[in-house]
């Protein structure tokens, strides 16, 4: 067991535990903060594997922008301190959610475990290589995704504005 193995296992464990806490906690803001920890764990895994550009972009975009936006939305609506009792759900729904999560995990493990090799090995990927892949091979999916997001954004704006009033009230 090398030190890379250890570091990878530690980051992975951090991500998994924080992810579990994020979905099981009864406090919404805590869930968002556990999500930050989980994302940092994933970024740590990527760093161990040598994909530092991806890791840093993950932190910059998800922790720096997406989670800040999530926290903003939570604070703007309802984020009580202490457990959220308004949105309590019956036991059978919790069990069903747990089963669905476990089934997805089992499926992913069944698909990915046979692919796992031996020791964790570090591959230093140059930033240029990622850029070439992203803007060469994968440029069309990348652009299509951007257009999709833009369309979603404009649609959200249109929905939130509502139909325009024909006659302006004096």
């Amino acid at each position: 067991m090398t030190s890379l193995d250890l570091a990878f296992a530690a980051c992975g464990l951090l991500a998994v535990v924080a992810g579990l806490l994020a979905v099981t906690t009864r406090q919404v803001v805590h869930a968002a903060l556990w999500l930050v920890v989980a994302l940092l764990g994933v970024a740590g895994c990527l760093l161990v594997l040598g994909h530092e550009l991806v890791a840093l972009v993950l932190v910059l975009v998800y922790v720096g922008a997406v989670v800040v936006l999530v926290l903003f939305a939570l604070m703007l609506t309802r984020a009580p301190i202490g457990p959220d009792l308004v949105h309590a759900v019956p036991v059978w729904r919790r069990v069903a959610a747990g089963l669905a999560g476990a089934a997805t995990t089992a499926l992913l493990l069944a698909a990915l475990l046979p692919l796992a090799g031996g020791a964790v090995e570090r591959r230093d990927i140059a930033n240029q290589a990622i850029a070439t892949e992203l803007f060469g091979t994968w440029v069309w999916p990348f652009e299509a995704l951007s257009v999709l997001l833009l369309a979603a954004l404009i649609a959200a704006l249109a929905v939130s504005r509502g139909p325009s009033k024909e006659v302006a009230s004096p």
Partner: protein, 318 residues
């Protein structure tokens, strides 16, 4: 890298992290005072009140550490550290001279940006966990501001990195030439304004706005935890000033830069820090809608134009 070297580098970064923010804070006391026709601190330490911030630190350490009863205790307690520690990481990646940097990573520009964006979470956590309406309002304003200014900031840094052809900060300095002062000028302006907003310094201190929100997200904090927030603010000024010097002013480039390059880096950073202080004295606080308007209608287009300009320049010269 031996264990000893790691220890020496860590201690050096920690020392810089503890000394530079105090230096900037003391400069702020004195420069702001003289701009307003006052003397500023004059007694602590004897000579022109040089030990004022040390005395402040002792005062903060003596104060009672209060956690409000209604607060979310854990988050309330760890928020100052979340705000402070990322700046320590960011400072470790800033190069001072050719080969003089605590950790030279291939994408250090991104590392600094990512670290500072994590630090912003501390303010949000503090505002929410305080269970105080002023703190919550401050945190809301802070979140709105951070989301809108993150984009121009990243675009401005991306433009400088694009011009240099590398994400490594020391590589950016190597590629720098005096022409950049003109070529990257719009990007530099965007970076400076966005960095001020990211640090929530006046005129972008709407989240703290002491006249309407008491102290914003920091309202409930006392003693050392409050001092940590202040330290984080000044460490942020140091990090962003040095980053500006490295990206747009050529870092250590200057006469005799193989020997005294670190002096040039620090000097350029210090000039920017004084500029940041000057902005605080010169401009009144901006309103929330003015803030958003400025970010989306002025800074973002300017950053995109700069990105296009940089792209054209890079393609033409290579």
């Amino acid at each position: 890298m031996s264990v000893l070297e790691v220890v020496v580098r860590s201690v050096a970064v920690l020392a810089a992290f503890l000394v530079f923010p105090l230096l900037v804070g003391q400069t702020e006391h004195k420069v702001m005072a003289h701009m307003q026709g006052r003397l500023g601190p004059m007694y602590a330490g004897g000579f022109h009140g040089w030990a004022q911030l040390v005395a402040d630190g002792v005062k903060f350490a003596q104060k009672e550490d209060i956690t409000p009863r209604a607060a979310d205790r854990t988050i309330f307690r760890i928020a100052p550290f979340v705000a402070l520690v990322p700046y320590l990481l960011a400072m470790a990646a800033l190069p001072l001279q050719r080969g003089v940097v605590a950790v030279d990573v291939p994408a250090s520009a991104l590392l600094v940006l990512a670290a500072t964006s994590v630090g912003a979470l501390g303010t949000l956590m503090a505002g929410w966990a305080s269970a105080n309406k002023y703190a919550l309002l401050g945190a809301l304003r802070s979140a709105a501001q951070l989301v809108s200014y993150e984009l121009p900031l990243v675009l401005a840094v991306a433009s400088a990195c694009l011009a240099a052809g590398t994400l490594r900060l020391s590589g950016v300095v190597e590629a720098w030439s005096p022409w950049w002062l003109l070529w990257q000028l719009p990007g530099a302006i965007v970076f400076l304004v966005a960095a001020l907003a990211e640090l929530q310094r006046p005129p972008f201190d709407m989240p703290i706005a002491d006249a309407e929100l008491v102290m914003g997200p920091w309202t409930e904090y006392t003693g050392l935890r409050f001092a940590f927030f202040l330290l984080a603010e000044y460490a942020g000024i140091v990090v962003f000033s040095l980053l500006f010097a490295v990206l747009y002013l050529g870092g250590w480039r200057g006469p005799l830069d193989d020997h005294i390059g670190w002096v040039w880096t620090l000097l350029k950073g210090f000039v920017i820090a004084i500029l940041v202080i000057w902005f605080r004295v010169a401009w009144p606080r901006m309103r929330e809608d003015q803030l958003q308007r400025m970010a989306w209608l002025f800074l973002l287009p300017l950053a995109l134009i700069q990105l296009g300009l940089t792209g054209i320049g890079v393609v033409m010269t290579r």
